[in-house]
């Protein structure tokens, strides 16, 4: 007998991973890591879980592992879709924390399965009424909030000027435009303050498609992103800056995979843009911001911010974990303290399940805010309007909530020179 008899797997997919729903659901080894923080990262019993859905609904059917089991049974016809089953599939924030933990063990993409199962629900005509309403709104108004498109940019401050010849486009996104306008105002003020010429799509800006994609309405998501890419391509800009990490990943990951219209521009989240400006010496922080704060990594700006390939060392773009911290640490007076669950294993704010399950969302946000408060911080800073919006609703004034753009604005001296210049060019 030779000392090494090789019996290789007959199915080459064990060697060269390719995504398919049946493959992933059958490959789940029920190891249960999708429910817990990586053992080395556990700092306390209290904050050691990672799945908001399981933490709230408790049965394993509400964990990634359980949903892989459900996927297996559905795909093989051993389980039929029912309204309650469909609800259970939607009682998840799609934050991807399970996906991160799973990938430490196996070449697997369970998050894609969770989205595909929702797509199946939609195709089979099982739509939640709340989702139908926001999808109708997206179709009708180009945003999920039932708001008229012409009101999208009413937040634009009167003393901030767009420059039509600008090569940079600011894509505010729906949540920033309609719900958290102060973030959009802070963002454009910062840009103008340091002399960045920019313009916006205005009422021609549609939803980025991410909310529709996450609820399984893939075709509508494609329609949205293709509209936006076409409109932006026509404007001839070279760079799109987004406030919302969801919009950022919609352009940078989703569009590359799904859109037939290819983008002719780069896309950056505002954090990455500020980082560039800091490196170029264009942004300096002069004013003290006396605040003890903690930073919440948004899922879309962290672990979901980069497309994954088997063997990738880092989940998400590591720069997106470090950049916000680097920027905030340079702000004088600001004391940054860390929560227990950060970066790739950040605990979700809960917002993406908000359309249909507000109690679940509220409990998830409150749990995250408790973790923030346990650090002794008086404020939680994030870089996602959806997280900020969600936290504001849950916090009831017990802790301050900021988008990082607001903090940056506080730390900057207001310079009027570009206001004059841009007013002139803008006219």
């Amino acid at each position: 007998m030779s000392d090494f008899m090789v019996g290789l797997p007959t199915n080459s997919r064990w060697m060269e991973y390719r995504y398919s729903l049946p493959w992933v659901v059958q490959a789940c080894s029920r190891c249960t890591n999708c429910k817990h923080l990586h053992g080395w990262r556990v700092k306390s019993h209290r904050f050691s879980t990672i799945c908001p859905s399981l933490d709230y609904y408790l049965f394993d059917s509400h964990s990634c592992q359980g949903r892989m089991d459900i996927g297996l049974a559905l795909a093989s016809g051993k389980l039929k879709l029912t309204n309650r089953l469909v609800e259970s599939l939607y009682q998840c924030t799609l934050c991807g924390a399970c996906d991160v933990m799973c990938k430490t063990q196996n070449d697997m993409e369970p998050l894609k399965v969770l989205i595909e199962l929702r797509e199946i629900c939609v195709l089979a005509g099982f739509e939640l009424p709340e989702h139908k309403a926001f999808i109708d709104s997206i179709n009708k108004y180009g945003n999920p909030f039932g708001q008229p498109p012409e009101k999208r940019y009413i937040w634009m401050p009167k003393d901030v000027y767009q420059v039509q010849s600008a090569e940079i486009l600011y894509f505010a996104g729906c949540t920033t435009s309609y719900l958290r306008r102060e973030i959009a105002r802070a963002t454009v003020k910062i840009m103008q303050n340091v002399g960045i010429k920019f313009k916006v799509l205005g009422s021609n800006e549609f939803c980025c498609g991410k909310p529709a994609y996450k609820q399984g309405y893939i075709q509508i998501a494609k329609k949205m992103i293709e509209h936006n890419i076409k409109a932006i391509n026509n404007m001839g800009v070279k760079l799109v800056v987004t406030s919302c990490p969801g919009c950022y990943t919609s352009f940078s990951i989703f569009a590359d995979e799904y859109s037939k219209v290819k983008r002719k521009f780069e896309v950056l989240h505002f954090s990455q843009f500020v980082d560039q400006l800091m490196d170029e010496g264009k942004i300096t922080f002069e004013k003290n911001v006396e605040l003890k704060a903690t930073y919440h990594d948004p899922c879309e700006l962290g672990r979901l911010s980069k497309a994954w390939r088997p063997g990738d060392d880092i989940l998400g773009d590591p720069k997106n974990y470090e950049t916000p911290r680097k920027i905030l640490n340079r702000i004088p007076g600001l004391q940054l303290v860390e929560m227990e669950r950060i970066k790739e294993y950040s605990y979700c704010c809960g917002s993406d399940a908000g359309w249909a399950f507000p109690d679940f969302v509220l409990r998830t946000s409150i749990h995250r805010l408790e973790e923030a408060k346990s650090t002794g911080a008086e404020a939680i800073i994030t870089w996602c309007p959806t997280c900020a919006n969600n936290f504001l609703h849950a916090s009831r004034g017990q802790i301050k909530i900021y988008d990082a753009a607001q903090i940056i604005q506080m730390a900057m001296e207001e310079m009027k020179k570009y206001e004059q210049e841009f007013r002139f060019i803008g006219k």
Partner: protein
């Protein structure tokens, strides 16, 4: 037909085609022989009256989520109900209801074990991990913790190191495993067993709901105020009724456990750097040292282990195979195939001994242990594995995982999707050596099935030396590609080895088979006395006896 219907139909057809060769999911519970809808409704009403509607489910998608074990292919079956008790009183009430209405109760923690799955209709899974998950007490002075069934090794470890203590060790299934289920049902064997023995040796007290619904407090827990510090009596040590490999809640359901903690000279939070999956750890060099030794042969490795144990040096010790080293180290299947099958990189390490030494009392003690260890290794022809990038990386990412906060057994299944244990041996190191030798009859039987089974572990087996090498534990697994017919081959290997053991009258391959009839009868009598209605995870613990008797009878008939 609408566009969506077409899309859906095509999609489902594609799924079914792909799945047909990969897996057989659990059938609907209504199709089980003996299923009774009327009884189902009666049980449901009873469970809801105890726990409330929120914590009882017979929804098929919920029960489906409890239908698989770690191998995820073995005996998949949906339970009729899953319930989430919130207290010992809840557990008692459910067990009493089970006695009255005659249904089986199976307690689960992490729910990895094939033994803790439904085995037929009228089965209720008690998921104890969700609402009974507190660390009730962490007594730093007296070095123990009292935990509920939902507490994981990682959670206990994180809280214990804050006060300079740690637990007995995490199992190879991972630190996400629940302490109680692992200690009670699986004996919690791991690398730190070299110093601290198996998990059950570390139990100080238990609160158990017996199969009739009564509560049994074991050891000093039976005293007023449930003071957990001593489990040896009075009278017979009753821990043995509940614990042990193969018990799996068959004699009662543990709802609290007092568990010994041990000194932890190190930081109060685990030092981890980097992002997943390439996360690294560096323990302080003056307190912790990790070595990888290679020996000229397994015989020499085993002889060195005897001597290391005799000198009582070392903290966590074990010998792992190249396949396991590769499984734990590699971050993708592609890397695994390249390094393990392609370059055979990890074979260069074999026979490999991993040793961790710790300054438990002082730095001087660490220096002493290091000197003795190196001297013994040298005497037996061993040498440190030369450092290269992978070795350095392995030490920081993988080697120290064992016995601490994080080990992930399913990484070793990454290239086939499943595994099947075929042998499990406990005994003196020499016995472990004999069974694990590549020319042993056991491994020769196993190797006849490669292929179709994937991979041969070429250099013997994993060895966990326990209690300063007084004895050791070994487990042999095979790795079939995850598909029903291939998994069957793995089961055939196991049966083949069991039959061969009986034929040769060699009890060393599969633990538990050769238990004497007196012992068997006693265990059966105890089970029947405690659980006359057979409601507590039946038919455990009788499985072994049945399988053994079947094979024995086959052999006798043939002769």
């Amino acid at each position: 037909m609408s566009k969506n219907s077409d899309l859906l139909e095509n999609r489902l057809k594609k799924y079914a085609e792909e799945l047909s060769s990969l897996s057989i999911p659990a059938e609907p519970v209504e199709s089980y022989e003996g299923y009774d809808q009327e009884k189902h409704e009666t049980i449901k009403r009873g469970l809801i009256s105890i726990l409330g509607e929120k914590y009882v489910s017979d929804d098929p998608w919920v029960t489906q989520a409890y239908s698989r074990d770690y191998s995820t292919i073995f005996n998949q079956m949906r339970p009729e109900f899953v319930v989430l008790p919130g207290s010992v009183e809840d557990v008692q009430a459910v067990v009493r209801l089970a006695n009255r209405l005659k249904f089986a109760v199976i307690p689960v923690g992490t729910s990895l074990s094939a033994t803790c799955k439904a085995k037929g209709p009228n089965t209720v899974i008690l998921d104890l991990a969700k609402r009974m998950n507190r660390i009730l007490l962490l007594d730093a002075k007296n070095m123990y913790a009292v935990v509920e069934p939902g507490v994981t090794y990682a959670q206990l470890h994180a809280e214990a190191i804050k006060v300079g203590l740690t637990h007995h060790g995490a199992p190879s299934s991972g630190s996400q495993s629940k302490v109680i289920a692992n200690v009670i049902g699986m004996a919690a064997v791991n690398a730190k067993g070299y110093r601290y023995g198996i998990g059950p040796d570390n139990i100080l007290g238990l609160e158990v709901v017996l199969p009739n619904g009564d509560i049994l407090w074991i050891g000093s827990a039976a005293m007023p105020e449930n003071r957990y510090f001593w489990g040896e009596g009075p009278g017979p040590d009753l821990r043995g009724l509940i614990t042990g490999k193969g018990s799996y809640g068959s004699m009662g359901i543990v709802t609290k456990m007092a568990y010994k903690l041990h000194p932890w000279p190190g930081p109060s939070t685990w030092p981890a750097e980097g992002c997943l999956p390439h996360i690294k750890t560096k323990l302080p060099h003056d307190l912790h040292r990790c070595y990888m030794f290679k020996f000229p042969s397994y015989r020499r490795l085993v002889d060195a282990l005897y001597e290391i144990g005799r000198c009582e040096v070392g903290y966590a010790i074990h010998s792992i195979t190249p396949h396991q080293a590769a499984g734990w180290y590699c971050r993708s299947n592609k890397q695994f195939f390249q390094l393990y099958f392609g370059e055979k990189y990890f074979h260069k390490w074999a026979p490999l001994l991993l040793v961790h030494i710790v300054a438990l009392t002082s730095r001087k003690q660490l220096e002493y242990e290091e000197k003795v260890l190196k001297q013994v290794v040298k005497e037996y022809g061993g040498e440190e594995i030369p450092r290269d990038d992978i070795v350095n990386d392995f030490i920081e990412t993988t080697a120290v995982e064992w016995g601490y906060a994080d080990v992930h057994g399913c990484r070793t299944m990454r290239y086939t999707g499943t595994y099947a244990p075929i042998m499990g041996t406990m005994g003196p190191l020499d016995l472990i050596y004999d069974v694990g030798r590549k020319d042993s009859w056991q491994l020769q039987v196993r190797d006849r099935y490669h292929p179709p089974l994937v991979d041969v572990v070429p250099y013997d087996a994993i060895i966990w030396p326990m209690e300063f090498c007084h004895w050791a534990n070994q487990e042999q697994s095979v790795f079939p590609e995850k598909a029903p017919e291939k998994f069957k081959v793995a089961m055939d290997v196991r049966s083949h080895i069991m039959r061969e053991s009986i034929k040769r009258n060699d009890p060393n391959a599969v633990q538990g088979m050769f238990i004497s009839e007196v012992t068997q009868n006693l265990i059966i009598r105890i089970k029947n006395a405690f659980d006359p209605s057979q409601i507590s995870n039946p038919p455990i613990p009788m499985d072994f006896f049945r399988e053994y008797s079947k094979f024995k009878k086959e052999l006798e008939d043939r002769n």
